[in-house]
Amino acid sequence: MILKIARRNIWRSKKRSLTLLLAISLGLWSGMFLIAFYNGMIEQRVNAAIQDEISHIQIHHPNFLNDHESRFIVPDAEKTIKLIKENSSVKAVAGRLILFGMIASPSGSTGIKINGIQTEAENKLTQLSSKLIDGHYFTPSKRNEIIIGQKLANKLKLNINKKTILTFQDTAGNLASAAFRIAGIFKTQNTPFDETNVFVNIEELDSLAGLKGGIHEIAVLLYSNNSLDSCLQRFKSVLPELEVKSWIEISPEIGITVSAGTQMVYIYMGIILLALTFGIINTMMMSVLERTREIGMLLALGMNKFKIFTMILWETCFLILAGCPVGMILAFITIAITHHTGIHLNNYSEVYANFGYSPVVYPNLNMDQLIKIIFMVIITALVSAIFPAQRALKIKPASAIKN
């Protein structure tokens, strides 16, 4: 009967209950969608970083990542690459020769990372050719070709077929310079990457630097991130003398983006729920105060405080529980649709690209987050239900009933 009274009480002030229902569903809807959107953005960023730049796993000489000295090469690199290729989880693998140096054009010069790449294997790994916006990919017959990013090309006022000079240290410690002709200009979603990376043929760079077949970096792309841990363990055990690192270890800032992002979404949700809590408390307080007389009457008749408390608690919970499914269903529908179509942030694509984000976002929500959201909503319901119920207990029957 208490449940019945509570349920029917909700419909006494239709307007107020509907407003609250609307607020709860809208709050939940927007909160969940925001989380899903954020997820999509982060996932995109991570995927792009893995697909375009880092790959899932990188293997180096144990000292290379600290010193970046050209002598820290992977011994027996060809054998190692062959070994990795045999693993069925591996989609693509390529070796790179990496030197840090300068690029110069008639209008200026800047520091860059020179990637000497195995042109065919690299293209399978990072699909560099698909990112070209001008020119063409490496032609086997041509020598001294270089591919640079759009941002860098703009900065140095370089165009297709223009000449540019790369300067770097060779193994002997002497400065070496070489002229390259621009074959292609690429553009990724990550502008800083485009500004600081250039690609040349590994054999040419090798002979210029005098490394004699040296490889600094072996990048491994897996079919799925799910097999990351098992592959890591496998490679670590068969290559004990090398440093085997996952993308999270290679690029901790992306790991931070992910974890900061996950914390961020809960803060968003928390703020939305906090606002809702105040709204619910306020509304229910009003509803309790308006019914002072009736509650006084119930107390007079013999409905004890525990039952009064429970009644108000149920009223609040009913309201919230009615609003939640509506908000959640709306959220699921919107997320499902936008997950399919993607959201195009055309107007801001430049801004996002500057931070390495894609202009198309595919919102999604995972189970873990959904459970946490539901948990947060339940806490909200309880917290916002307790205060109005508490208020009802303060009512004194004699003064409440007074005519």
């Binding site: 009967m1 019945k4 009274i5 029917r8 009480n9 006494r12 007389r293 009736e294 009457m297 119930l298 107390l299 007079a300 008749l301 013999g302 409905m303 004890n304 405080k305 525990f306 039952k307 004194k396 029957p397 004699a398 009933i401 007074k402 005519n403």
Partner: protein, 240 residues
């Protein structure tokens, strides 16, 4: 001597004790026996509601105490007092008696539900009570769909439902037209005669007072007159 259902000893109530004290009840002494049909009359502000609140356990006196069937209810607080009211006292208020979201039937049943009476028994008793107050066909109506007089009848039925020691009614007819008022009183009187239910009600309506078997007059919180039931049984009408 018959055991009193209600026994009020030296009841005083002073409101606003720390600013301007108002003596609402001044050393009231009251004995009510089972089966009495008592009206408390007096001008507005004379302390009728205050007195009824004290003997109904809705408020605590500043001094003195109230015994209901031998239990000193002035010593009871919180849920113990609420439970005592539930099982011993029936209430009919001036207005807003019923829970608006429940039907007449459910309003009557509600009190028995609080008493944890089994469903079968509740159902039977609800029908019986509806018949007693002459509203068999209004059981499924909500209070808003009933007239003022009908609402008060349902309130009386609900007060009866808990099988209380007595029923307290603070100006039950104040919001009713005179026909409904006399009808309600006649119905209460009938219940008093047939079921030996004790009624105490306050009023300043002469027609209502004229139906009482005993009339207690309050003035400035003091009981100034108490026409004994014995005199009525003698057939002498003391009422003007």
């Amino acid at each position: 001597m018959k055991q009193a259902v209600i026994d009020a000893h030296n009841l005083s109530k002073i409101y606003d004790e720390d600013s301007i004290p108002v003596v609402a009840l001044d050393h009231a002494q009251l004995h009510l026996n089972r089966g009495e049909f008592t009206a408390i009359k007096g001008p507005s502000g004379s302390g009728k509601t205050t007195l009824l609140n004290m003997i109904g356990g809705l408020d605590h006196p500043s001094s003195g105490y109230v015994e209901i069937n031998g239990t000193n209810i002035t010593k009871l607080h919180g849920n113990a007092l609420i439970d005592f009211r539930l099982n011993n006292i029936g209430f009919v208020f001036q207005s807003y008696n019923l829970i608006p979201v429940l039907t007449a039937k459910e309003n009557i049943e509600f009190i028995m539900l609080l008493q944890k009476i089994p469903a079968k028994q509740r159902e039977m008793r609800v029908l019986e009570l509806l018949k007693q107050v002459g509203l068999e066909n209004k059981g499924d109506k909500r209070p808003g769909e009933l007239s003022g007089g009908q609402q008060q009848r349902i309130a009386v039925a609900r007060a009866l439902a808990s099988k209380p020691q007595f029923i307290l009614a603070d100006e039950p007819t104040a919001n009713l037209d005179s026909v409904s008022a006399t009808n309600l009183l006649d119905m209460m009187l009938k219940l008093n005669e047939e079921e030996n239910m004790t009624f105490v009600f306050s009023t300043h309506d002469q027609r209502v007072i004229s139906r009482a078997r005993r009339v207690i007059t309050l003035e400035d919180g003091k009981i100034v007159e108490d026409t004994a039931p014995a005199k009525i049984t003698n057939g002498i009408n003391l009422l003007e």
